[in-house]
């Protein structure tokens, strides 16, 4: 708990004076973040290409890995934490995530529903565009 009456700037440190005195904590944080992000990225690329995993579960696993890596970036690179001086930043982020989830899941839900309820097109419509019309 700090004595600062203000919120922390996103990406900033909570006490600038302390950051100038010490040398390593910032470097350690960024390096930890890089190593974790590299590990998660490598896992993602491995999981997408391997045949040793249960194939239907891989897409879900890739999404989970992406969420984890987003969390790593937010905490170690953008310094968004759960500290009391960071509440406003976290609240703004939570609102952004809410809108993103609404836009993506809402679009997918509605468009899947429309596709399912669509009448089958007449046979001429489903012909590929670059195929010549039969005489």
């Amino acid at each position: 708990m700090t004595n600062m009456p203000y919120d922390r700037a996103p990406g900033g440190t909570s006490i600038p004076a302390k950051a100038e005195a010490g040398t390593s904590p910032g470097l350690l944080i960024y390096t930890t973040g890089l190593l974790l992000a590299v590990a998660l990225t490598a896992t993602s690329f491995w999981a997408a290409n391997t045949t040793r995993l249960w194939a239907p579960g891989v897409p879900l696993g890739l999404v989970v890995l992406a969420i984890a890596q987003m969390g790593i970036h937010l905490v170690f690179f953008l310094h968004i934490t759960t500290g009391s001086d960071n509440t406003n930043n976290v609240l703004a982020l939570a609102f952004g995530v809410l809108i993103v989830l609404l836009v993506v899941s809402g679009s997918l839900w509605i468009m899947t529903n429309l596709n399912d309820n669509m009448m089958p097109p007449p046979p001429t419509m489903i012909m590929p565009m670059d195929m010549p019309m039969r005489p």
Partner: protein, 210 residues
Amino acid sequence: MNVAVAAYDIEPDAAPTANEAGPAPKRIVVAYGFWIFLLSDIVMFSALFAAYAVLVSATAGGLAGVQLFNQRSVAIETACLLASSYTSGLMSLAVNKRHRAGTYLFAALTFALGATFLTLEIREFAGMIAIGASPQRSAFLSAFFALVGCHGLHVAAGLIWLAVMMAQVATKGFRANVERRLLCFALFWHALDIIWVWLFTVVYLLGVRP
């Protein structure tokens, strides 16, 4: 908070509350405003992601992602962007210490890695267009070029911004307003990397699965 408890807490040497201390320093206000902008930018990207996810199978008889995407090139692009995010963080540390040579060094590394990323992406786009997979070919390709191209434009804008900031550090030094702009640039660059995480997951890894 209970009023009585609050009154009991006040001591002569206690830190002032936000109300008593007056408005927050400009650095905090500016960074918070830029954070709001970044989140709105991410909301815009979510619309492009939604369009891509809806149209991913609308290939109109043309080439699909599994034939078009080269995962090796994407892996190199990902490595470049992640490394540039790291060097951008090291640049922020150098800026905090008012270390001029370190700032230039890490800015140059960030710029070089970002430029490599952009070059690889442009080559990928040019190769796709050369074999007839241009944005007007199918709804899938329109959505692909809109989504990935929009991220590429952001990276290009970030590179220009970084070059301008280095010119400002050279001519103006570490003034308060220059430091605020450098803080905003670091936020922007890290946010671009977060968007790229979703891009390579959704487009290049999930998009090529049978």
